[in-house]
Amino acid sequence: MRYKTNPIDRTYFADEPAEDFNVIGSVVQRSDALGHVTGRTTFFEDLSPPDLLHVKMHRSTRHHARILGVDLTDALAVPGVVRILTHADIPNNVFTPLKLIGVQPDDEPVLAEGKVRYLGEPICAVVAETEAAAYEGAARVRVDYEELPAVLDVEEALAEGAPIVNEYHGNNYFTYEGHHCRRIRFGDVESAFAAADHVFEWRYQSAPIEHAPTETTGCIVVPQPDGRLRIHSDTQACFFTLDNTALILGTPFNKLRIVGGTVGGGFGGKVDIAVEPVACVAAMLTRQPVKYVYSRYEEMQVSSPRAAERIYIKDAVMADGRITGRKITLYVDAGAYSRHSPYGTTKAAAHLPGPYSIPNVWADCHCVFTNRTPSSAMRGFGVTIGDFALESQMDRIARELSMDPLRLRLINAYRDGDMKAHRKVAEGTALVEVIQKAAEMVGHELPAEYRQMSSMDRASMDREGR
C-alpha cells in the first residue's frame, strides 16, 4: 500500500506555477522513519558511556513550606552514593528560562533554597553508581519543614491577604510593563453592552494537562577530555537548553556541546531546562558521565503541564448576530514559577478576541502564581484553551439566538484589512472560505449571500447586514 493523499484543491493557488507544488499533495518520506522501523534511531538513553553515574532527586513533600534543615547523613551512608548536590553546588541557582528573550525576574531555583513552593519541587540531587542506589539515597534524605499556607486557586491567589507564593515577584501575578496583567483596550466595551440587543456572559475552565511523552525527560552528560561537557538530551530546544544551562553554570556557551533533536514525544513538555543543569554540575564535580532521567511517576507528577485556565467571556450581541463588544477576564495558573507562562498569557490575550472582527474589546489576562506544579509550554499553549472557550461561546450565542452557528461565524469572521483588537491588521485571512468549503463538504446548506461572502471583501459583508 502506498500512502494515499487527497488531491489538493488548487482553486486558491490558481496564480501559482503548478511545478511549485512538489511537496504539498505528494508523498515525501520522513527522513527518520528508516531508523525508527529498524530500531537504529539513537535516543539519548540508548547511549551507555562507561562509569555512568545516576542522579535521582529528593523532592518536596509539601505544597508550600520553609526548609528548616536538610539531613544528608543517612543518604550519604547508602552504598554506591557518591555525592549529594544542594542549591549551594549550583553556580547561578536562580533562573527563569525566558530570560533569553528578556523576561525577568529570575524566579526559580534549580534546587530549592530556603523554601519549597510546590509538591515535588527538587531539593537535593543524589549522585550514585547505580540507579537503585540513587533512588535509595534520595529516599533517605531528611528535610525538616515549617508548613506555610498554600494557595491552589487562581482567584484566591489574587485576593487580598493571600499568602505570597513567589517572593521574587512580590505579588501572586506576573507584572507586564508595570501592569498587573496583560491588557487589551480597544474601542469602548461598556457602550457596546449598553447598546446591545443581548449580553451573554459565561465562564470556562480547564484542568492542567500532562503531555505524557512515551520517552520521559532526561539527559546524559559526558565530560570531554578538552574540558567541555557533551550533553545528550531529549530537549525539544537544543540551543535554548544549551544557553540556559550555560547561564546557570556560569560557563561560556562554548564549554557545552549539545547533541539532540531525537525526541520520544515532547508536545511542548521538553523545553523547561529540567534536567541538564543538575546533570552538568554532577558531571563537573565527579568528572564522570552522569544520567538524569525522570521516572514515569516524576514525568506525571512534576514535569510541567499545560496551564489550567479560567476564562470569563462577556459579549455584546445584536439581534442579527453581530458581536459588537467582547470583555474577557482570563486567569492562567502558572503554578509556582514563570517558566513559559508569561509568554503564554500574552499569546492568550492576542488570541482571545478570536478570528472575528469585534469593534470593542476589553481584556485582562492574568498570569497567576499558585502553589501548584509550574505549568509551561504545550501545543499552542495560551491559545488552545482560549479557542475552546471562545468557540464554545460562539456556539452558545448561536443557540441563544436560534441561529445557524456557521452563519454566526461568517457574519463575524475577520476580513483582510480589518484592524484586530491587539492592533494588527488582518492579512491573508481565509476563515470565510474555510467555513464555506467545510459547509459544502458536509452538506450544510448556506443561503446564497453567505456563499458569496469573501475574505477579500469587507464591503460585501457590510451590504449583507453589517
Binding site: F43, G264, S295
Partner: protein, 157 residues
C-alpha cells in the same frame, strides 16, 4: 543474593551474561547485550514500548525478571530485518507513515509480528486488540493499524 549466569537465544544467536537478581529482561537486552531497540517508557508494564517476543509471544520486557527465563528464545526489532532487507511489517510502517516520534515503534512492530505469526489474516479489530497494550502518545494509531493490515496483505502468497 549473587548474580547468576543467564543464557538466552537472542535473534537466533546464543548469548550468555551475568544478571543480578531481579534484573529485567529489558535491562539485560539494553545494558548487557547492547540491544537498544526496545525502550524504557514507563518501566511498569503500561506503555508497551519495551515489547519483545519471548518464545514467540509478545511480553513487556520491563516486567520479566531475566533469571526466570533462562534458556528462552527472544526476538527484538534488531532481529526482524534480514540481510538489511526490511520485512513486510517494517516496510509497511515505513511506507505507510506509521511512525512519528518513533519511540513506540519497536514495541508496535513486535506486537504486530506476534499477531501476524499466529493470525496471518487479521481483521481490523484483531489488529486493534493486538496493539491495545502499546501506547502511541503521538496518537498515530490510524496509520499504524493500516500498516499492520497492509503488512498482512504483503505477506499473503
Amino acid at each position: 543474593m549473587a548474580s547468576q549466569v543467564v543464557n538466552l537465544r537472542v535473534n537466533e544467536r546464543s548469548r550468555e551474561f551475568l544478571a543480578a537478581p531481579g534484573t529485567s529482561l529489558l535491562s539485560s537486552l539494553r545494558d548487557a547485550l547492547g540491544l537498544m531497540a526496545a525502550k524504557r517508557g514507563c518501566a511498569q508494564g503500561s506503555c508497551g514500548t519495551c515489547t519483545v517476543l519471548l518464545d514467540g509471544r509478545p511480553v513487556m520486557s520491563c516486567l520479566v525478571a531475566v533469571e526466570t527465563v533462562d534458556g528462552a528464545s527472544v526476538r527484538t526489532l534488531e532481529g526482524v530485518a534480514r540481510d538489511g532487507e526490511l520485512d513486510e511489517v517494517q516496510a509497511a510502517f515505513l511506507e505507510g507513515f506509521a511512525t512519528q516520534c518513533g519511540f513506540c515503534t519497536a514495541g508496535m512492530i513486535m506486537s504486530a509480528e506476534a499477531l501476524l505469526d499466529r493470525n496471518p489474516d487479521p481483521t481490523r479489530e484483531d489488529v486493534v486488540e493486538a496493539i491495545s497494550g502499546n501506547v502511541c502518545r503521538c496518537t498515530g494509531y490510524g496509520p499504524i493499524v493500516d500498516a499492520i493490515l497492509d503488512a498482512a496483505a504483503r505477506r499473503r502468497p
